[in-house]
């Protein structure tokens, strides 16, 4: 029954025009970034390396597909939560608003299974978005700009990663980025369980992300204690895969915090959804 419901959710998601909005938005955004880099990428690189190039010269193709993919990922990963929430925030509340939740819940499928199927479908949709971003950023980036070593600018300096050392880092980076977006997806589905209108959970999800990001950015002592536990703090953990040496401890910590968020949010959703009276 669970997988039948998951299949149903896929059909619904694929039939909704708004589901393609995310893919379209990513395509347009990545297209714009790739175009900008193709036209003026060298000067962007020069801006980064100018401080070093007073003494040193960099030989080789700095602006290559690997760097382009990194720039795309860095620029877009903060916007993709909106695209994720746009679809996942509607999964439960949209059905409540349209009345179909009533129809679904008079069927023998358990509420837990129904909600889990929505979480799974939301996760698959999020995965599709991240894979599409990966295809556009990494594959199209490499087709247009070629391959090469990846030069990454971190707050503690430059890291130059060898070409053969980059693909697994992207795989890891995208996996962690997926997990971060999955937390967003879980949050918006959770909020969706508490609402009977489609827009509310989407707006609240974004508001929470913005609020947590601000708390994470503000240099206020009061926030120091909570900052490491905010999921938004770990949304950029994919970058850790591009550090040398690999900060495995930090990555694992981020993964645990993101997973704990997901477990709590799913648990809360299941508890509320199972107790909820359907009066719409």
């Amino acid at each position: 029954m669970l997988w039948n419901s998951v299949y149903n959710e896929f059909i619904k998601i694929t039939a909704k025009p708004r589901s393609y909005l995310g893919l379209l938005a990513i395509t347009v955004l990545v297209g714009v970034i790739l175009f900008a880099l193709k036209v003026d990428g060298q000067s962007m690189i020069a801006f980064v390396t100018s401080s070093f190039e007073q003494t040193l010269s960099f030989q080789g193709t700095l602006l290559n597909g690997n760097l382009v993919a990194f720039i795309v990922l860095q620029m877009l990963i903060i916007h993709i939560p909106l695209l994720v929430a746009l679809v996942t925030g509607d999964l439960v509340s949209g059905e409540a608003a349209s009345g179909t939740i009533r129809m679904l819940l008079t069927k023998p499928i358990s509420r837990t299974q129904l909600l889990l199927s929505k979480f799974i479908a939301g996760a698959v949709y999020t995965l599709c978005l991240i894979i599409w971003l990966g295809i556009l950023a990494v594959i199209v980036g490499k087709v247009l700009f070629g391959t090469g070593d990846l030069m990454v600018l971190n707050s503690d300096g430059l890291v130059i990663l060898q070409e053969q050392d980059v693909n697994w880092r992207y795989a890891g980076g995208f996996a962690v980025a997926f997990l971060a977006l999955l937390t967003v997806s879980t949050l918006s589905i959770c909020l969706s369980c508490f609402s009977n209108n489609s827009i509310g959970p989407i707006v609240v999800t974004m508001a929470i992300i913005i609020l947590f990001t601000i708390i994470g950015t503000l240099d206020v002592k009061l926030f120091d204690a909570i900052r490491p536990y905010l999921f938004t703090t770990h949304m950029a953990s994919w970058r850790s895969f591009f550090e040398e040496p690999l900060p495995l401890k930090e990555i694992i910590k981020s993964l645990i915090i993101l997973l704990v968020h997901q477990v709590i949010l799913i648990g809360l959703s299941l508890y509320h959804f199972n107790k909820k009276d359907i009066t719409t």
Binding site: V48, S51, G60, D149, M151, N154, L161, Q162
Partner: protein, 229 residues
């Protein structure tokens, strides 16, 4: 009175003229070795240890053809000193652009070397001072140090092996003076960082770039197309 004074000046300048002539000779002998090389291709391994830059050794191929055609092909990103090893022969070949003086002797790698100080004639150029440590017995350059207005001081140590007869090194170790690099803040967004980064630690002032040369292909003819971009 005047003639005695002029004699004194001339006598005082004599050692300088003599040193200049000797320095030129030493340079010419050193460069004579280089001049026997019409072209070469060599595999290099570049290892950079620069503060604030983490990188892996990079393999590359260097092509050189007289008089000053130079090309490095590397699949990866290689970090070289701004004044790299190609600049020095290029500068020394133009004998009218500098004055060379012997300014002492020094032991480098257990070898007694003559220290040459090379002063550019054009004092508006970037190069301010060049010092060369040359082994007078083998006419090999063992160390160089260039001071430029924009890049500070870069020194290089040379080790020889297979191509000693041509004055081509097997290893070069550059020491570059690293200014405090500035990271553009907006671009380095480690928002996941909850622990302090390494930027607070005092970073060393010098960076080291080691280039190891192997498999020299000397005077085998290299087409000009190789040097085109």
């Amino acid at each position: 009175m005047i003639s005695r004074f002029l004699t004194l000046i001339l006598l005082g300048c004599l050692p300088v003229f003599a040193a200049a002539q000797d320095a030129t000779a030493i340079l010419e002998q050193m460069m004579a070795k280089w001049n026997r090389v019409k072209d070469y291709a060599v595999q290099v391994n570049i290892k950079s240890e620069i503060p604030l830059i983490k990188s892996f050794p990079v393999k590359a191929t260097i092509y050189f053809k007289q008089k000053d055609q130079f090309k490095m092909l590397s699949k990866g990103i290689a970090i070289l000193p701004k004044q790299n090893f190609n600049e020095l022969p290029k500068f020394l070949r133009d004998k009218n652009s500098y004055t060379a003086l012997i300014t002492g002797t020094e032991v480098i790698q257990t070898q007694k070397t003559t220290v040459l100080t090379v002063l550019p004639i054009d004092d508006s150029g970037d190069l301010v001072l060049l010092k060369l440590w040359i082994d007078p017995k083998t006419d090999l350059l063992l160390k160089s140090q260039s001071t430029t207005r924009s890049n500070g001081t870069i020194s290089a140590n040379y080790e020889y092996g297979s191509q000693i007869a041509f004055g081509l090194p097997d290893k070069m170790i550059f020491t570059v003076e690293v200014k405090k690099f500035k990271i553009p803040k907006g671009l380095a967004t480690d928002i996941n960082r909850t622990s302090s980064s390494d930027t607070g630690k005092p970073s060393p002032k010098n960076g080291k770039i080691t280039i190891t040369f192997a498999d020299y292909q000397l005077n085998k003819g290299i087409k000009d197309e190789v040097f085109r971009n």
